[in-house]
Subunit: 384 residues, 2 copies
Amino acid sequence: MTPSDPTGGAAGFGLAVRGVDGKARLGGIETAHGPVRTPAFMPVGTAGTVKGLLPEQVRGAGADIVLGNTYHLMLRPGSERIARLGGLRRFMNWPGPVLTDSGGFQVFSLKELSEITERGATFRSHIDGGRHELTPERAMTIQNDLDATIAMAFDECTEHPASRERAKASMERSMRWAARCKDSFAPRDGHALFGIVQGGTHDDLRRASAETLVGIGFDGYAVGGLAVGEGQDEMFRVLETTVPHLPEDRPRYLMGVGRPDDIIGAVARGVDMFDCVLPTRSGRTGQAFTRRGAVNIRNARHRDDARPLDETCACVACGNHGRAYLHHLFRCNEMLGPMLLTLHNVTFYQDLMAGIRAAIAGSRFGTWSAAFLEGYRSADAPLP
Amino acid sequence: MTPSDPTGGAAGFGLAVRGVDGKARLGGIETAHGPVRTPAFMPVGTAGTVKGLLPEQVRGAGADIVLGNTYHLMLRPGSERIARLGGLRRFMNWPGPVLTDSGGFQVFSLKELSEITERGATFRSHIDGGRHELTPERAMTIQNDLDATIAMAFDECTEHPASRERAKASMERSMRWAARCKDSFAPRDGHALFGIVQGGTHDDLRRASAETLVGIGFDGYAVGGLAVGEGQDEMFRVLETTVPHLPEDRPRYLMGVGRPDDIIGAVARGVDMFDCVLPTRSGRTGQAFTRRGAVNIRNARHRDDARPLDETCACVACGNHGRAYLHHLFRCNEMLGPMLLTLHNVTFYQDLMAGIRAAIAGSRFGTWSAAFLEGYRSADAPLP
């Protein structure tokens, strides 16, 4: 996709597919705020900060794009305030593109605090109990205030499990909302609006949702309503039945995913973009991702171990600090522990994506994936 | 002081006084682990980390030396463990010299958890209730395990207020302990042991303490038992009566001080070294130091203010982020808020010391101090 593409993507925004290996795609997305190499993982910066990291550390780890949460930002500090301060990127001093979710996922998670109608959702703030409304139109206004490089359609993330009837009604409402989003979205060069496929685990609903969205026409397509408890096998199956109905020339984004093996499996099924709180949240609780799987640094086995978390990692935590020190920091509840483990985990995820991209470029994604997963599923290095 | 100084400083450790302006001294301390420019402020790294900062950020802010706390480190992770891991500097990846306190200050703060005899102190850990002992000899062993560049004598920080009788008995015990520390300290090239002057606010006791310590012979001399509630005027008075009894060729260290105006006043009275938790602790609670005094970033007046904390500051927080963003981070309890404010405050303190050193070098310490304090005591910049 280029700005001049006749099928009608936003000017200055587009995916160039530079290579394929099976269904895995290597590409680059052009945006108003710089390029995104795909497959891409977006660190989550919920309230305008990737928790525990300076923006330059996020960039230095290799991230091209970060995610912000509309729900959190509309409540604090408020989207109008962020607009006055020059948009989210300037507010948080992030030099690259940002993608914002629509707020729907959080609002529907509030359950008893929210009420849903065809018009949209009203809800009480979890912070001060104040009443707020989110509709497709309001979600577009807020994301415009935030100056999101990529805005997401306001949709309903269907719960799991959901009956076919429930999944169908929920998906169809999301499709009506998607059309309203498209209508009220203010196009700007290099900015994009993505639609979100719903339909639970029902193949025909997923296909209908994808076809409806493609009919409306979006700059990219997300697959929503997964990683909500259905399990990896079922998630992969839904991707296999959904992705073929999405246009090849637009980015495909699997929302809220996931673990390294989830990402590898989804890339193999044609997905280009991911986000997940796992690397940052795990980093704060002492879980580190390594080439040999997850490590809980709080475990006593690390207390005399001067080796880095991961010998092959180039991050500051691995370059400058041993496990014994990281263990000590977590045992003492020192801020530097979460800071260093978050930096490591975000670096690990970006290195994972770089490895995936290099493997696709070299037409060896299958063998690379198998080797990575074999290492990832092996035990942590034995004590020295 | 040079390594060959006939008065007997430790080999490879010494103060070179490079300029004086009134009683203020400009100098450099040579150590086994690199030089320290004086007057120097040592950020506090209690448990082997300056809270909220990477070691390279502490270094980048201009700090030559950091302080570690024997009490905390002996309990967690244990000084023998740190010795096995190569000493505190290697453990925390700090490239410069470290000064460790003796643990006495914390132990005596425990009060009902500790018992003091002529032999030393026994106490229960605030972490797990385990029984521990600190004596002059044990404090030397632990600080040797930590590979402290500068070890401090084990002393009793006399409480304030203290009767003359109480202050005398306490000081005299500290002097007996100082002699035991000197006897059991294992000298190594470029490593130092400092004695600590006590005596409360009693001039004759301070003088007697200083003379006793000089008689024993230390590589540097600290003034302890101040900044414990006596007030700035009284603190300055004690410095004026104490410092003249300390040798000119050894570093003078005012422990636990302090606010910028305390530091400037103490430098004017001949002090070379400082430490205080104020820049780091304040940074975590939202108080920032600026050229125009302290600013509480949580105050609502900052919520729409895109300007930096301090226009003249070159730190990352001031260079890349506005007050509105910092305010937001603290309102949302985001880790990045304390991280950025700590970085700013530590930078502010190092800039303060650099300003002091430049002013002494230029023989304009008096006018510089007056101008700095006038600015520091003015109100925060008006809203734009």
